[in-house]
C-alpha cells in the first residue's frame, strides 16, 4: 500500500475530526447535567423497539427537566444504536460511555445486544440497567461477583413460567406454543416446556415463526389438527394482530394465553376494526398502562399513537430504578457519577412502585410483580398481581 504524505495527513485529520469538540479537563460536578444513555435497536429488523425507547426517553427527559431535574441537576439523554446485535452493542456502549460520557446506561432491549454489552460495561465501569432482555443466561452473567456494573429490572421467562403455568393449569391440560423465532420466543418456549411438565400440562407442539412473515395459516392448520385446549402466544402486538385475524379466520377457538405485548393498547389499536377478536386472552406481563394512566395519556398526546411497550419498559427502568438511584447517590455522596450511581443501585430499595418493590438481589436482578392481564370486551383488565419469588 502506497501511503503518501497526503494520506498520512488525511488519517490525522480524520482522527482529529473524530473528536471534534473534545474538551479536555475536568467538568465541574455540581451543576453539570446528569447524562443518561439509552441503547436499543434504532436500525435493523427490530428498529420498532428502538423507536419506542427513544420516544420514551425524550418524554422522560422533558418530564424530569420540567420539574428541575433530579436534585436540581438536569437530565441529558444520548442514544446508542445496537441494531439488535452484540457487535453493534459493543459500539453503542463504547460511544455512550467514552464519547457521550454518560453516567448510566439503560438498555439494550435485545438479548444478543445485552450479552455483547455486558463485558464492556464491566471494562468501562459504567452502570447499565437492563430493561427488557430476556435471555435466562443473563442472570448468570450479572451481579456479584461476575459483573457488578450490570443490573436487570425485568424478569425473564424462567422466573415467570412457574407462576404462569400454574395459572394456566387451572383451566387447561394441553397447550401449543407459538413463539417468535428470536431470543425472547426461544427462551420462553424452553422455560414453559419445563414448567408445563411441573404442572401436568401437555405440550402439544411448539412452532416458531420469523417476525415479518405474516402468513401463519399453514401452521395454524397444523395446530387445528393437533387440537390443543389452549395456545400460548409468545409474540409482540405487531405480529399478534395479524396472527389473531388468521386464527379467527381458520376458525380456531382455543383458550388464549400470551407473553409479549398482546394484552396492550398497541394490540387493541391494531385490531380496532374488531376489538373483541382476542377476548379472553390472558397475558403474563409486568407492565400495563393501568399502572400509570398518566404515562399512557402523555404518550398519546405527544406521539399520537398508542403507547409502545418497549418505551414503557425503558420508562420503568428509569422511573423506578435509575432516577431514584441517582437521587440517592446525590443525597449520599453529592455526586451522580458512575460509581456512586452503581453503589446506589446496589443499595436501592423502593417499596411502593406501581410495578412492585424495586430491590436488586446479589445477582443484581429485581423482582417486580407479575401481572395477569386479560382482554375482555376490547378492554384490558388486571386479573391478578403475583409477587415473583427470587
Amino acid at each position: 500500500m502506497v501511503v503518501t504524505r497526503r494520506s498520512t495527513i488525511g488519517i490525522a485529520v480524520v482522527l482529529a475530526l473524530a473528536l471534534g469538540g473534545e474538551r479536555p479537563g475536568v467538568e465541574a460536578q455540581s451543576a453539570s447535567p446528569i447524562k443518561v444513555g439509552f441503547a436499543s435497536a434504532m436500525t435493523g429488523p427490530s428498529a420498532i423497539t428502538g423507536e419506542g425507547v427513544k420516544w420514551a426517553a425524550q418524554m422522560l427527559a422533558d418530564e424530569y427537566n420540567a420539574k428541575g431535574g433530579i436534585m436540581g441537576r438536569k437530565i441529558e439523554i444520548s442514544f446508542g444504536d445496537n441494531a439488535g446485535t452484540p457487535g453493534e452493542a459493543v459500539s453503542a456502549v463504547r460511544k455512550l460511555a467514552d464519547v457521550d460520557r454518560v453516567d448510566v446506561i439503560i438498555g439494550q432491549t435485545h438479548s444478543g445486544a445485552c450479552l455483547g454489552a455486558l463485558p464492556v460495561v464491566k471494562e468501562l465501569q459504567v452502570p447499565m440497567v437492563i430493561e427488557a432482555c430476556s435471555n435466562p443466561k443473563i442472570r448468570e452473567l450479572i451481579g456479584k461477583p461476575v459483573n457488578e456494573w450490570a443490573f436487570r429490572v425485568n424478569p425473564d421467562d424462567v422466573m415467570l413460567a412457574n407462576q404462569f403455568a400454574k395459572h394456566m393449569s387451572q383451566s387447561t391440560k394441553s397447550v401449543s406454543i407459538f413463539a417468535q423465532n428470536d431470543d425472547f420466543g426461544r427462551g420462553a418456549a424452553a422455560a414453559y416446556d419445563v414448567a408445563f411438565k411441573k404442572y401436568g400440562i401437555r405440550l402439544v407442539s411448539t412452532e416458531f415463526f420469523d417476525r415479518g412473515q405474516p402468513d401463519y395459516r399453514p401452521v395454524l392448520t397444523r395446530v387445528k389438527r393437533a387440537n390443543p385446549e389452549a395456545v400460548l402466544l409468545v409474540m409482540l402486538a405487531s405480529e399478534g394482530s395479524v396472527f389473531m385475524r388468521q386464527f379467527r379466520e381458520i376458525g380456531l377457538t382455543q383458550k388464549l394465553f400470551a407473553r409479549g405485548s398482546m394484552a396492550t393498547v398497541e394490540f387493541l389499536h391494531q385490531v380496532r376494526d374488531n376489538p373483541s377478536i382476542a377476548d379472553g386472552l390472558v397475558e403474563a406481563t409486568y407492565w400495563t398502562p393501568a399502572l400509570d394512566p398518566a404515562w399512557e395519556k402523555q404518550w398519546l398526546d405527544r406521539w399520537k399513537v398508542p403507547v409502545r411497550v418497549h418505551g414503557s419498559l425503558a420508562a420503568i427502568a428509569w422511573r423506578y430504578a435509575v432516577a431514584p438511584a441517582i437521587e440517592q447517590a446525590i443525597k449520599k455522596t453529592g455526586r451522580a457519577d458512575r460509581k456512586s450511581i452503581r453503589d446506589a443501585l446496589e443499595e436501592l430499595d423502593v417499596a411502593n412502585t406501581p410495578v412492585g418493590r424495586i430491590r436488586f438481589d446479589d445477582t443484581h436482578q429485581a423482582f417486580i410483580n407479575m401481572l395477569l392481564v386479560e382482554i375482555r370486551g376490547g378492554q384490558l383488565k388486571i386479573l391478578e398481581k403475583i409477587a415473583i419469588q427470587p
Partner: protein
Amino acid sequence: MMRALRFTIATAFLIAVPWIVAATVPGQQRYVLHVLIFTALYGALALSYDLVVGHVGSLSLAHPAFFGIGAYTAALLATEARWPFAAALPAGIAMAGLVALAVGVPMFRLTEHSFAMGTLGFALVAQIVATNWVDFTRGPLCVTGIPKPQLGSLRIATLPGFYWTGLAAVGLVGLLYHGLTTFRLGRAFHAVRDNETLASAASIDPLKYRMLAFVIGGAVAGGVGTLYVSYVGVLCPGELAVSLSVNLLVMLFLGGVGSLRGVLVGSVAFTALPEILRMAPTWRMVIYGLLLLIIVIRAPDGLEGVIRRRSRA
C-alpha cells in the same frame, strides 16, 4: 528506496496508533481504538470480497455465509470443545474454505444473474440454518462466553492488543491480496474477469481461477469471522444477515472495486465516517443507498478512480 521508506514510516505510524491516540484524545481513546478494530476487520473482509467481485468479476452474495461459518466454527469449538485460539482460527478458516469449495463448484456452472441469485440463496439458507438449528448453534439464544485469544502466554484482551491483531490481519490479507492480484496470477484473474472467452482460448481455465478466488476469499472471510467473535465474545445468527453483502458492496464501490487502496479507503469511509459524522442511523442508510447508486452509475471506480484521474490530470 523512497517507496520502501514511506512504507516503513506508514507501518510504524499504524503500529504506534494506540499511543498516538492515547496522547491526542485521552478521553476517547478506547472508543477510537474500538472503531479502528472494526475498521480493520471490515477492511480485511472487504479485501477478501474484492478478490471475488473485483478481480474475477463474480458478483457473489455468499460472503456473509463464509464469515458466519468461520465465526460459528471457531465459537463453537472454543466454547464446546475448548479449542485454543491457535487451533480455532485455522479451523474457522479451513471450514469456510471447504464450504466455499463445495458451494463454488456447482455455483460457478451458473452464469451472471443466476450465479448472484444462487449465492444469495445459499447465504439465506445459511442464515436460516444458523437461526433454527438451535441444538447446534444455539440459534437466537446466541453462543456466549467466547474466550479471548490466548497464544501460549500471550493473551489478547486489551483494545491495543486487538487493534494490533486487526492491523496484522488486514496487513496479512492485504499482502495476500497484493500477491494474488499482481504478477501472472493477477493477470489470469483479470483475463477471466474481462474477457472470459478470450481467456479460455488462451488456455486460462475460468472455472479454476474463479474457484481459486472464491475459496481463498471465503476462507479469509472465515478467518475474519473468527477474529470478530473473539473480540465481541458473543455470536448471534443475525451477524450472517444478507445486509452484510450490501455493506461490503458499498465499501467496495465507494472506495474503488478492484483496488487495494480503494477497498481500504472504502472500508474506512464506511466504518469510521458515520462515527465521525454522528448521523441518525436510518438517514445514514439512505445516504449510503444514494451514494452507492450515484457512484456505481457515474464513477464505478469509486474514490480510487477519482483520485487516479486527479493525479493524472
